[in-house]
């Protein structure tokens, strides 16, 4: 009775009264008063009245309320779902919205979009499995927005962002959003700044749900969505105009995203990193220092996965060698930034990975690149110190080099160590080089003489440093360097280097003691403590007894 008699009559009255306040109030009443299953059955009729109302009526609020009531109805009583489908609720609402928008040509954009937002909310609550419905709603928006270019008005923009965020929040899986063909089209209509904000929202959603993007195709689709962050878009403000902090934040977000682009299948993984690199290389020099490192480590992880897998070796479509080529080209791109210190670190990581794969020429090549950067690009003295220590530390762990290659590189390392600007830095680097000539692992080089040569050279430099300090400052500075070298002596003594004799150690101890007591010495309690703890250590070892104790016994302190 309601459907056939009551409602049509009431609606006729509502439409005919032509009073906007009354119309709004009455429609609201109808919706609130009558039960939801009535509304479902009379949907067509009810919605039919909407376009006929006065254009100034806030119809979107009315319709939103209706949709919200129906959504609640559906979620509270899931058994009515078939009814929704049977009356084609979605389709009716969808076409009603279009008709209403057509009937009110003066409706501002924000109004039209918010209607679609309401419908989307309805769809996500009532028909979450119907991605085609969701896509349809987005499609209707695209139609509405077509020809409008980038939306400038902030209220409308907010509605578009709400529209795009809703599927992300509902599905917790960006992959679902990627399936919506109209999603990127809606995104296009956001102004550049908001577009990037939305891209950030998308990435945050991935990070929060630890979603893995597992194929190169999906990566392409995703990067298309977030392209505002990846590269400069024509027409967008140039990278240089951006606020430094904001830029860093968004690039670090992109960097973190890289770790979510993974697949255990190595062939697919290689396709993924190739795709990622293709996009990152379009990002320009300012972005590369953020985006290249995570990509490099992703590739290094792939190398390791290949390594630990037996049998594939050089036959498969993806080989360590191929990835090292990829890595070489990728790190090379940092030259355009330029970022030599970062590139040096990455080359060293690659060298070590090549070492672990037993590929000597590749490891050597990476060291060559690292040294070239050191020689040509790293001029700052502090940076040089850190860099040379990194090179020495890495080189020490390399086992794959034959004698010639090893000699060339260790020679360069010790040479550069002695050429650092400050004498203290020279001394330290040179004595650290001693470790290049004594490798603990089986079959590792154990060249006792060259170890001693390094340490003696370090002592000479330390002496020179003291003399210089005497002249320039009037005191010879702390004996720290000597104590450090003494500790190196003890290290190699324990490891069994025959060139480091107990006499040498005793002599050095005496030297230090004399130095520290001399009038020129500057008093430094930390050096005293260091020396004291070293002597204590020697005593400690003597008392321990055993083979080591005997050795230490020989040292007369």
């Amino acid at each position: 009775m309601y459907k056939d008699i009551v409602l049509p009559r009431v609606l006729e009255q509502v439409v005919n009264c032509k009073d906007e306040l009354a119309q709004y109030y009455l429609m609201d009443c109808i919706i609130q008063v009558f039960p939801d299953d009535y509304h479902l059955q009379t949907l067509e009729t009810l919605l039919g009245a909407c376009p006929q109302l006065q254009p100034t009526v806030d119809i979107k609020t009315v319709m939103s309320q209706l949709m919200e009531r129906l959504s609640n109805y559906a979620s509270l009583s899931p058994e009515v779902m078939p009814e929704f489908l049977q009356v084609e609720a979605f389709t009716k609402l969808s076409s009603a919205i279009v008709r209403v928008i057509e009937a009110q040509p003066d409706m501002p954009l924000v109004g039209a979009i918010s209607l679609h937002v309401s419908l989307l909310t309805f769809t996500l609550r009532v028909h979450p499995d119907r991605l085609d419905y969701v896509d349809q709603v987005l499609g209707a928006c695209v139609k509405k927005l077509s020809g409008k270019g980038k939306v400038e008005e902030s209220k409308a923009t907010k509605q578009i962002v709400a529209l795009l965020s809703a599927p992300l929040e509902k599905y917790n899986d960006v992959m679902t959003a990627l399936k919506l063909t109209n999603y990127p089209k809606v995104l296009e209509h956001l102004d550049y700044a908001t577009n990037k904000v939305m891209a950030g929202v998308i990435i945050q959603s991935i990070m929060k749900n630890t979603t893995c993007i597992s194929t190169a195709d999906k990566v392409e689709a995703l990067f298309e969505l977030i392209k505002g962050l990846i590269k400069d878009i024509t027409g967008a403000p140039s990278v240089d105009e951006l606020d430094e902090e904001d830029f860093k934040e968004e690039q670090n977000l992109v960097a973190r995203l890289v770790h979510m682009l993974v697949n255990e299948d190595q062939e697919e993984m290689f396709k993924i990193i190739t795709t990622v690199r293709k996009h990152f290389l379009q990002g320009g020099p300012r972005r590369l220092s953020f985006t290249v490192p995570p990509l490099v480590f992703s590739a290094l992880k792939l190398v390791r996965a290949l390594q630990t897998q037996e049998g594939e070796g050089e036959e498969g479509p993806v080989t360590p060698k191929k990835i090292f080529q990829f890595l070489h080209q990728t790190v090379e791109a940092l030259a355009t930034v330029p970022a030599p210190e970062l590139a040096l670190r990455l080359y060293l990581q690659c060298a070590e990975a090549a070492n672990d794969c037993d590929i000597e020429p590749v490891a050597y090549e990476f060291f060559t690149q690292a040294f070239i950067l050191y020689e040509e690009e790293i001029a700052d003295s502090k940076a040089q110190v850190t860099a040379i220590h990194l090179i020495i530390g890495t080189l020490q762990r390399i086992t794959v080099f034959g004698v010639e290659n090893r000699d060339t590189l260790t020679h360069k390392a010790t040479g550069y160590s002695a050429k650092l600007l400050k004498k203290q830095d020279q001394c330290k680097a040179v004595y650290v080089c001693s470790h290049l000539f004594w490798v603990e692992d089986e079959g590792g080089v154990k060249d006792g003489e060259r170890v001693l040569l390094c340490l003696k050279r370090a002592i000479r430099i330390a002496n020179a440093a003291q003399q210089m300090a005497n002249v320039t400052r009037g005191n010879s500075g702390p004996a720290t360097l000597f104590v450090e070298i003494l500790n190196k002596y003890l290290y190699f003594f324990e490891k069994g280097n025959p060139q480091i004799t107990s006499n040498l150690i005793r002599d050095l101890i005496e030297l230090i003691a004399t130095e520290m007591q001399s009038e020129n010495a500057s008093q430094d309690p930390s050096v005293d403590a260091f020396f004291a703890s070293t002597l204590r250590y020697i005593q400690f070892q003597k008392q321990k007894g055993g083979a080591l104790g005997e050795k230490y016994d020989a040292i007369q302190a």
């Binding site: 630890t210 973190r256 490192p293 995570p294 390791r304 250590y537």
Partner: protein, 173 residues
């Protein structure tokens, strides 16, 4: 009872996207009195996050840290213990507890009258030195002359806890 959190080698965002979710839910602000990190955070966001857990944060520099102002080494006294912090390894710090990093592998052992602790990598970040890195961090409970070292490791998705006791001899230098 003083709680000191030691964690390092996170390498965010170069080698890891974030701390493991299970770790994050355990690290709650206000419960810890000090945080010490041997470095390689690497970005300011990580520093800020750690600072939000506890304002007394000490960091030393790792090779990949973005901020060049972190010192190479640091010493601090907590209760009866002198703690030393550095990225490599040094005898000259003359401390009771030395916290170091770099290898991404958890280690805790007695050494020359003191204790050396490497909290490993809190994110399980790639390391050229160690394969198969499990995310780990260390929580120290300093109580008088005793320190209990709790190590939390994320193995196959589950957090496993182990503890080691160290006592400092009262006749300390």
């Amino acid at each position: 009872m003083v709680l000191v959190l030691a964690l390092g080698d996170l390498h965010i965002p170069h080698r890891a996207p974030d701390l493991p979710t299970k770790f994050k839910s355990m690290l709650v602000p206000g419960k810890i009195q000090h945080i010490i990190s041997p470095g390689n955070l690497c970005i300011k966001e990580v520093y800020d996050y750690l600072k939000s857990l506890c304002p007394d944060l000490h960091v030393t520099r790792g090779e990949y840290d973005e901020d060049p102002r972190y010192p190479e080494t640091k010493t601090l006294t907590i209760g009866q213990f002198k703690l030393g912090l550095c990225h490599g390894h040094q005898r000259q710090l003359d401390v009771d507890i030395l916290i170091t990093g770099h290898t991404h592998q958890f280690k805790a052992y007695k050494h020359e009258g003191g204790v050396v602790i490497n909290p490993g990598s809190a994110t399980g970040a790639y390391s050229s030195i160690t394969y198969e890195v499990n995310p780990s961090f260390v929580l120290m409970d300093i109580d008088g002359l005793r320190v209990v070292v709790y190590v939390y490791e994320l193995i196959d998705g589950e957090v496993k806890v182990d503890k080691i006791d160290f006592k400092k001899s009262p006749t300390s230098q």
